[in-house]
């Protein structure tokens, strides 16, 4: 019980001090909008192409709301040494790191549905399989946040966290099959695509918005969940080994 008070409090504090700050909120809105606009113009198609663009925009929104933000938050708190306050408190490390990641996951999820709400004004969303869409967005958000956590615990400086998350983030967008089908990538790049959690998340999103799944959805769910678990376990290990050295 007591641990939950601490965990909730960490999550609420992060939301208030970082995620719900105007720059971050507007970033979460503007970026998906800009992408949609850009793709929309380039495709030169009618309004009906919005449904095709939506999964990609959602994935971008998640990616920009989670990975780099969490990586920077954790690196920043470690630099200012306020993270030590959390480490000396009687909170199991697993709970502590989950609470830290939880804020980013929720923020990513909320970000993902901003473009959906905008799309509702343009197209008929009755094609959407809502439980599948929410599930896919949540899992995608979780795996992106855990990637951010792993980046955060692997670096020392805030700028390193930023650089490293961009290093992962941008190639991921192009390799995940959203904007360019994986089959159209050069053969040597394809294994890389299938190693990225985003590829599976994007496929699930597409499938739940009236598109065709290129991969079996159950397998995609399982792979995404496995990537979350693996990234979390790795992060935990790094903190235990290197932070408390």
């Amino acid at each position: 019980m007591k641990v939950w008070i601490a965990a909730w409090s960490i999550l609420a504090k992060d939301a208030r001090t970082y995620y719900l700050k105007p720059p971050n909120v507007s970033w979460g809105l503007i970026f998906p909008l800009a992408w949609t606009g850009m793709l929309f113009l380039r495709s030169a198609a009618g309004v009906e192409s919005v449904a095709e663009l939506l999964p990609g925009v959602m994935a971008v929104a998640v990616l920009f709301g989670t990975t780099s933000l969490l990586a920077v938050v954790v690196a920043f708190e470690r630099r200012g040494r306020s993270f030590e306050r959390l480490l000396v408190a009687p909170i199991p490390l697993v709970v502590l790191l989950l609470a830290k990641t939880g804020g980013a996951i929720l923020f990513g999820l909320v970000n993902a549905f901003v473009p959906v709400i905008l799309a509702a004004f343009l197209i008929d969303l009755s094609i959407v399989d809502w439980p599948a869409l929410i599930g896919a967005a949540a899992l995608l958000s979780a795996s992106s946040a855990f990637l951010g956590l792993f980046i955060a615990v692997s670096v020392r400086e805030v700028f390193e966290a930023q650089a490293l998350s961009n290093f992962f983030r941008f190639p991921m967008l192009f390799l995940c099959g959203l904007f360019l089908p994986v089959e159209q990538l050069p053969a040597w790049m394809r294994p890389l695509s299938y190693a990225l959690p985003l590829t599976y998340g994007a496929d699930l999103l597409r499938g739940s918005i009236g598109g065709v799944n290129r991969l079996p959805p159950a397998a995609s769910f399982a792979l995404l969940a496995a990537s979350c678990a693996a990234l979390f376990a790795l992060s935990l290990r790094v903190v235990r080994r290197r932070w408390i050295a």
Partner: protein, 343 residues
Amino acid sequence: MTTSTATGHRLGRPGADLPDPAAIWVRGLAKRFGDVRAVDGVDIDVLSGELFGLLGPNGAGKTTILHLLTGLARPDGGTILIGGIDCSARPGAARRLLGVVPDESNLYPELTGFQNLSFSASLYGMRRKRREVRARELLETFGLAGAGDRKFGGYSKGMKRRLTIAAGMIHEPRILFLDEPTTGIDVASARQIRRLITDLRDAGTTIVLTTHYIEEAQRLCDRVAFIVAGRIVRTDGVARLLHQAGGVHAMEVALSGGAARLGPALVEAFPELRARALADGLLRVEASSPPRVGPLVRFLEDRGAQVTEARRVQPSLEEVFVEVTGIESEALRQEKEKAGGGA
């Protein structure tokens, strides 16, 4: 290396036998960073309810010891029992007993003073109602009531320090660790903080603090450990250490000119005295029985010096520290001035 207080015999046994769980029992604690032995076979006993000081120069290993005791660093060797709980076996249970005030003020700059305190309390599972009452209380106690709704980032250094200490004790820990609580802040704030620390001790909290201010250790602590290069060279009650220093009677004579020149002449004329020139024309005179002031002053004035002041110096921990560690107190003082920019 173990303590030699009256209760010393009791302390040699593992923590399970300690009468009160709010005590610290450390044996053979070791930590190296590469080739540096930061902590080198340290034994510590802290009794329940006492104010214990770790006194040593920069780099002696004080912060590293606190990090090991609070779980921020992992020891290379040794055993730590806190409140009878083995810290390597049940770190979470041990942490519940502790409050930690680090050497830097590390609260959240984005949160107000009040929010920072409330958040710190929540990490120890305190419910909202209680932690808000307690936060208001502590803001009052620490003279920050008017600044409670301002952001921590905008606080002055002394205010930051006070709020950091308040945050360390908001959950009413049984044992409080304070790393250099008064370094880098002005005299008035430091005095206020010292008073708050002794009040807390009087209310029953066990306190371990580190410092490189000898006077601070003397004024605050019940017992101190002198620590040099990762080793504890002496642990004892302040009263006992002062008693040891009491064997020496010291005087400081302020001269206008010639302190350095007249020292040796004085010792020649009065063989029972020892004399040493200090800075600013001060001459320090020591003897094993109280020196007679009249002949001494007359001797100095006969040799052309103007004696502007001659006063007895109370025995201080400084003498014992210098004697035991071989470190000149001047060296320590300079370090503390350099460190004045910290906190």
